[in-house]
Amino acid sequence: MNGQYAALIIALPLVSAFFVPVIKAISKKAVMPFLLLVTLAQVGIAGWVFNEVYTSDKPIIVMAGGWRPPVGINLYIGHFAALFVLIIAVISFFMAYFSIKAVKVEPLDKYAMLFLLLMLGATGMIATGDIFNLFVFMEITAITAYALTAYNKTGEAAEASMKYMILGGIGSSFFLIGIALIYGATGTLNMAQIAQLAGNINPTVAQVGLALLIFGLAVEAELFPLNAWAPDAYQAAPHPITVMFSAFVVKAGLYAAARLLYLMQAVSTWHSVLRLLVIMAVLTVVVAEFSALRQRDVKRMIAYSSISQVGMIAFALALGSQAGVDAGVFHMVNHAIVKALLFLGVGYVGIKLGGTTLEDFEGLGRRMPLTAFAITVGSLSAVGIPLFNIFWSKVRIMLAGVSAGYTWGVALILGASVVEAVYYLRLIHRIWFAGGGERLSESFALGAIMLFLVALILVIGFYPNYAWSLAQKAGADIFDVTRYVSNVPLMGVGA
């Protein structure tokens, strides 16, 4: 099994997505189990890729159609990509199971297809080594996200999807303009070659091109002024899809932005772009935290909290130092687990009790103790209480932030996380110490998934060494561009 089989992580979801109508024709009930099977296979392949990359310590380069870059499009599955493809696969597998319980709206086969394409889009964005290929995967993710947001066919879902669409549309158009400029200047689309040539193209074109590229991805990665669509989309989308949004769709956008950012290090005005990104990231954290303070709907509250934590990741990645990138990646991993757990818990409450307003959460501790325990662990971890996983990455980000000179930024973020502590702990008080009710039965499998995630949080919280070493390798993969360029077997041709 040499590297070429790694292309399966793209091929498998694509092929099985188109098989779904065939399966539906055979028997309507087989669609969801098929989805489960495919995501399980994806987990298997991603696992194999993960240990292949981490044992051999070399990235897997997949050349589409055997063409060597820069002529052909290549997939670059380095440490970060391997790690995150595995996370995407695992979370998609869990969400596939959750969808069986959560999604009741009729055209389930359409749902399964969109589900697989969303997973494909995110995996593609992370694995690709070519900027136009990145644009194509981004569009796949975007369109499936628009469709899935509107999937419930209610007024709110359609409204949220419409908002997401218009803003996403503008964002991706400008992303394309960016590609046009970069292609015009460098004559190539391959990331590695762009990194080589970035030094000697005329600075204003390079800076505008880079800025537009980052702008396009920033709409996807929910930075401050551009994330107006996110809370509505998170709230209106079906529960499993919200988990996928917050766990990896946003992160794919963020990773792509970081990858492009560090590729274009050689551009002379690089630092001014970085400073702009840091300002936007800090504003994201502060505004999102403040807006979550007096929320009536818990799902929307956790959406705001997810946006603010993503803003913190963006802050870490935009610091421009190795420590910053490592901290950002570590926080990405932790945030994915915690938000998956939280949205899973809230979604499950939404299904069982028919709504996710604060009143439904009153006395949840007595009615659904397992879910209440999961949500409590999730919220405590999100707040950054020690012996939980986010504590470690938050400390890392703060240290990196101040040593990169942004003391005011760290101060604002810490102030915002005080606000975060307030609304999460109000939620915990409402769950355990207010109201009551008789005990409801909770599904065993979902409970098992939640307990697995809780166990993951506690393991990383108590003993973060292994997770931190993974994050460091993945961070180096993004930050160390020279190694990236040397790994890609470039042909001598090109402008």
Partner: protein, 614 residues
Amino acid sequence: MINDLMILIFAPLVAGILAWAFDVRGIREAIGFIGAAIPVVILAKTYQTVLSNSINYTITVGGFKLIFQLTALNWYFAAVAAIVGIAMALGMISTSRSGYEWLFALMSYTGVLGVFLSQDFIGFFLLWELMTFASFMMVLRNNRHESLKYFVLSVIGAYAMMLGIAILYAKTGALDFATIRQALYMDLSIGAISKGESALLFVLFLTAFGVKAGAFPLHVWAPGAYSEANQSYTSFFSGALSKAGVYGILLLYILMGAKLYAEFGTFHGHLTFAYVIAWIGAITVVVASFLAVLQEDIRKLFAYSSVGQVGYILLAFGVGTSLGFAGGLFHVLSHAVFKGLFWLVTAAIILQTGKTKFKDMGGLAEKMPFTFAMGLIAVLSLSGIPPMAGFASKWLIYEAAIQAHMPLVAGAIFLGSGLAFAYVVRFLYAVWFGQRPSDLDNVKEAPLPLLIGMAILAIPNILFGVAPGLVTEYINKAFGSEIVGGDYFKLVTPTGTYNALLVTIVLVLGLAIAGLVFLYGATTRKIPVTNTYQSGNPVIEDYNLSIRRNFYKPLAEALDFWLKYSWDRFYERIAGIAEDFADTLRQSFYNGNVQSYSWYLAIVLLILALWGVL
């Protein structure tokens, strides 16, 4: 020897988790008690080795190197926490209702021990947050508003410390205390940290430790948090947890003392930054004692009194001289011991009578004699009656403050101890004496474990009162220099002496003489308390005269000018404003109109364009 420290720190946490898991009445109490007892055993075992050298232990967690060290100084703090911890465990055997309380009580116990023992900022910050979180959960169970107020203030403190740590890390590149201290020391010549930055660092660390110690402007959380938690836990909460804040101030001296001295120089011969701490301590003592005197609820009274007493310690450290540190450290022990005792007494009263307001209590002296005796010992010790530990430490603080030429600060202590005497006697009158309300007639004595807990805390009060030399001799060893002279029973400082044993003997002789005079007189006929102003008629409920409510109304009238201002209302208003601001921000930004969202995008594009051109 090596992993002794790990057992010492994490034994309570493990016991807490087990107690929470086996939530059965008998078992969880036993596990909890064992968990609280292990640290005492280990500390006793390591006493000898600690005097000569220190025990170290390092583990690497998440890329950080956590160093734990047991030296003479932090052994002292850990021992104080251990004594109060054992008393708390005994108290909780009778007052705790569920495994939840055992889990978080013992988790905060682990946090405090960890804070005292850690030698690097990450471990320190981690266990500091753990301690804050655990104590918050104890209060969250009973009252949301108070617990949130407590948590927000302590999280602001913790994050201020986090910022300080990050700045230090950025400047010195190190996280463990030894290297930072070395770097800051060398920094005197290089001057990498400017005056402004060291001022910022000082303020950040001061807020962090000030919140936990309950210093003046940041003390508003204490009354609510102390009175809402389970009372026997509060003995640990106010006895040991406030010491973490004080230990932090001590740490500030050790790490940044030279740097702050170089940056800010001296003011009238005192270190400027120390002078600030002294004045914060003095104001805390006066304000908290005045508020304590006017309280109507027994828990609120002791909460404010606890804040005031910690103010003494801050003041002692603020004096800056080695005698000041000795006085402060001694007061750490005596405060932990007599305040812990007071809270256990309160726990017993509330457990047996179910009342918390002074107006409902009274005349319990006959019904709960042992608790009354323990309460009397605590009263004597807190108000500083000579043969008690409270007096010895207060005497050292007076010596230090006046010797260092800080007259007004010493004046504040005088006023503070006068007020302490007042509110302590008020407690005596309102709870133990006067006419007993009819519904308290069948009150029984407190359960046995609580009584043992009280006894454990009462013995040190007397022991270190009669023989203060035991403590000062240990402090001399901890500081390595002869600060307080004299043998076990006599304290000798350059300007004054205090022979505790002689004072006790003479007091006993005096009592003997007075007793003889008393016995020489006629026989006494004992008549009940109710047969006084009613000239023989029985004292019925509505004519049961006793002034338990508004005991100090005249003082409140004398102070009404000052009582108009309250920091508590001030902070509540700020919180309200912040929340309204958050609301308006959300309404204005996320207004739901896709058009305005696209305008935001357009604006960002404009900024990008301008940014590019600039």
